[in-house]
């Protein structure tokens, strides 16, 4: 019972901190480009403003269009509750494994595409078609890269994987490096960060995600934006806790939880600083290169699995 409360607290923490995380990345990027940047509370203010406004619906929008934002937000928030943040062993993590996590994200993506096509604008259809093309490549790559860990742990459960990484000692494991590289590439594509999609623009011909939600306004837009912010925090936490889990709490005593929370925040800060550095340094790539980029991520994940079998099992 106690653990369920912890799980709920963690989920609320993830959902609540998500806008702050996005604002942090924006601030880092602005500072790197010699701008002052928005305040850290700006994301919250934007969300509050959108929630207060009356949504405008397109004339031909059906009930799918109105339902989709709730499904997207609920699926993403549930996915965030599955990922262990501060405690390793969570009841919800035990109930839903990594395949369920990917499926929840896929559900959110499916509804985004459906809603985009529902209104019948050209931009919506174009964005949906692009998103689905990329998703078909990025989902297998994500699953494969996480499977490298689950093969080592003999389980698809996230807690078991984190335990294995924690307890297998500081060995040099090339398969993990391959899997990490693949998952980083997939995470960048999935969260729509710079080499794949530009999160800062609202109208350009190569946009993917923005094209799909162009028709949304008011509280619907707020929910979708919030879900996206959760997704960024979710992928960051997943990366950190799967590959660099040191510091994460293995029991629910107050001291270890505090240490784990501090370690998580510190690691997040570093990761976001790296992300904004990377985004400032990189240019967006041509949209037709994205399938190749995701294919490379898939290849790296496969190399991770192969090198696990070839190099690490027989030793």
């Amino acid at each position: 019972m106690n653990l369920w409360l912890w799980n709920l607290a963690e989920a609320v923490l993830m959902v609540g901190l998500a806008p702050l995380a996005t604002a942090l990345v924006k601030l880092f990027k602005a500072r790197l480009q010699n701008r002052r940047g928005p305040s850290l509370l700006q994301s919250y203010r934007d969300l509050a403003k959108l929630f207060a406004k009356q949504p405008v619906l397109a004339e031909h929008a059906s009930w799918i269009f109105r339902l989709a934002p709730y499904v997207i937000f609920a699926a993403t928030a549930l996915a965030a509750a599955i990922v262990p943040v501060i405690l390793v062993a969570m009841p919800l993590t035990a109930a839903a494994d990594v395949i369920a996590l990917v499926a929840l994200l896929a559900l959110a993506r499916f509804f985004t595409a459906l809603a985009a096509m529902d209104v019948g604008t050209a931009f919506g259809g174009m964005g949906a078609s692009r998103e689905m093309t990329f998703a078909a490549l990025s989902e297998p790559a994500m699953l494969m890269s996480i499977f490298v860990l689950s093969i080592a742990a003999h389980s698809t459960n996230l807690s078991a994987m984190i335990d294995t990484v924690l307890n297998s000692g500081l060995g040099l494991r090339p398969s993990l490096a391959f899997a990490l590289a693949a998952l980083v590439m997939v995470a960048i594509a999935e969260t729509g960060r710079i080499p794949v999609d530009n999160p800062a623009t609202h109208l350009e011909l190569t946009m993917v995600h923005e094209a799909m939600i162009l028709e949304y306004s008011g509280r619907y837009l707020a929910l979708i934006e919030w879900a996206n912010q959760i997704k960024l925090l979710l992928f960051a936490t997943l990366l950190l806790n799967l590959f660099l889990p040191w510091g994460i709490a293995q029991d629910s005593s107050l001291v270890s939880v505090l240490i784990a929370a501090g370690a998580w925040l510190l690691k997040l800060l570093l990761l976001f600083a790296l992300l904004s550095l990377f985004e400032t340094w990189m240019a967006k790539m041509r949209i037709f290169r994205v399938p190749e980029y995701l294919g490379l991520a898939f290849l790296l994940a496969i190399l991770g699995i192969l090198s696990h079998y070839i190099l690490e099992v027989g030793v």
Partner: protein, 219 residues
């Protein structure tokens, strides 16, 4: 999973890096990047030899490591780059098959190499026995690169990386060949690279292009 010694883990990491570099060579589109990766492969080869020399206690391998560093890490890439500049073909590598397909074929080859080398691994007693599969995969990958490229110069890079992979196999599987053989092979490769250079100029003077399709007999 048992914990092997730290040095042996480094050898394993070097093998993984070797495999990664082979795939990077396969994926490159630009001549300059291709040669850079090729030079990196030579340096990695030298490092691996030095590492195996240290782990297995075979001092002769240090000499071959030095040889690899000088010849494969510096001289050969430099020679090839000079030829590329003088021929003016320093732009794009032209693959016969789409690059993503080539990469997937490559992954299949790694799987095949792993399958084939399973029984060999069981026989071997060396510290580096689990690297045999990777080494075999690297040989197969460079062969794949040879048959999927159009220009003569990329095929030569593929050929030289095949030699690198064989060298890697020899180091990993048998703790290195006798030093005399190794020095002989190294200089053969150097001479081969020089002769290839002559060939490039000859091919270009005859056909006005380095595309090997011109060498085929047209019906």
């Amino acid at each position: 999973m048992t914990q092997p010694g730290l040095l042996q883990q480094w050898v394993v990491v070097a093998a993984a890096a070797m495999l990664l570099i082979m795939f990077a060579l396969l994926a490159q589109r630009h001549m300059r990047a291709l040669l850079r990766w090729f030079a990196l492969q030579g340096v990695l080869l030298a490092l691996t030899s030095a590492l195996v020399a240290f782990v297995a206690g075979v001092p002769e391998l240090y000499v071959s490591a030095l040889l690899a560093l000088l010849l494969k890490g510096l001289v050969l890439p430099w020679l090839l780059w000079r030829i590329v500049l003088r021929l003016g073909v320093h732009r794009e590598v032209e693959p016969l098959v789409n690059i993503s397909v080539t990469l997937l074929l490559g992954a299949a080859l790694v799987l095949f190499a792993f399958y084939v080398s399973l029984p060999i691994e069981k026989l071997s007693q060396l510290v580096t026995r689990n690297i045999i599969a990777i080494a075999l995969a690297c040989v197969l990958l460079s062969m794949l690169m040879m048959i999927t490229r159009r220009k003569a110069i990329t095929q030569v890079v593929a050929f030289l990386s095949l030699e690198n992979a064989l060298f890697f196999t020899a180091t990993a599987a048998t703790n290195g060949m006798p030093l005399v053989v190794e020095i002989g092979v190294a200089f053969d490769v150097l001479i081969a690279a020089l002769i290839f250079g002559l060939f490039f100029f000859q091919i270009r003077r005859t056909f006005d292009s380095l595309d090997l399709e011109h060498l085929e007999e047209k019906p």
